[in-house]
Amino acid sequence: MNNTPLYFEDVEFGDDIGPIIKEVSDQAVIDFVSIREPESEPSRFTSKEVAQSQGLPEAIVPGAMNIALMSQLLTGWSDNVSLLKLDVVFRKTVPHNTPLKFSGIITDKDESGSNNLECDITMENEEGVKLVIGNALIHLPNRP
């Protein structure tokens, strides 16, 4: 959470968003998948055995959870940010219990009055391999 207000005028092409480092615990994944299905069966998201039976080395973070984490990079940049569109591509499965680096960069600024900004966003593992890439359209208000 960032309580420092950020305004459209404060942001320039090429400005960095983050990076922030997060790690998704086994328990966080169990909590996430239990929201809709409290009695859910072990799955590739919660069980190493099930994951391995599907050709994965270990349990993975659900895609929907990864998307939520990607969105937080932007909404967490400032309370003023409105996330209008998020568009991501999964390039590699995301493991639990490992540091994940989320970063973004402003790639376009619409000066015509919409106050919209475009940015690239990525999630990388410790080796710098991009696990998730994408872009987003966000909105910032004008400075009062």
Binding site: A28, I67, Q72, D87
Partner: protein
């Protein structure tokens, strides 16, 4: 190019609208979603009585899951979520009832680090109880061998 030439699946699903269902968005669901994903804003966590709760922008992802029709793809052993674009059109609040409809947009194949893969792309629309579109979602699922 996104051709489905040579891929065996149920082509009758292409472009056909399917009702997925209606889902109530409870306060508990929003706060659990926020907590499990490490949110810190009170507007999502509901831990400040002075701040009205809204759902994090990607909460719609909770509702569709495995409810899409089976495309009867004759290829591959395992499927994964491959990507998504989600467009937020309006806030989702506790007590909202969301209705989801989805349609198969296209199917195509390509090759990657894990060999041949087939992708199915779905377009899903979420409306609230006031018939207002709250989110437009394009999702891609990949099927491949283990």
């Amino acid at each position: 190019m996104t051709t489905d030439e040579g891929i065996v699946y149920d082509r009758s699903l292409l472009g056909k609208e399917n009702e997925i269902g209606t889902f109530e968005v409870s306060l508990k669901m929003i706060t659990e979603f926020a907590k499990s994903t490490g949110e810190t804003y009170p507007k999502y966590l509901g831990n400040d009585a002075n701040i009205p709760v809204v759902a994090p922008p990607t909460i719609c992802n909770l509702f569709v899951g495995g409810s899409r029709p089976d495309i009867k793809l004759e290829f591959g052993e395992v499927s994964f979520f491959a990507g998504q674009s989600i467009e937020s059109k309006a806030d989702i609040k506790p007590g909202d009832n969301l209705t989801a409809t989805t349609k198969l947009d296209h199917v195509y194949s390509k090759t990657g680090r894990s060999g041949k893969m087939v992708f199915a792309v779905w377009q899903t629309q979420f409306k609230n109880q006031n018939n207002e579109i709250v989110a437009l979602v394009n999702e891609s699922f990949v099927t491949r061998n283990k």
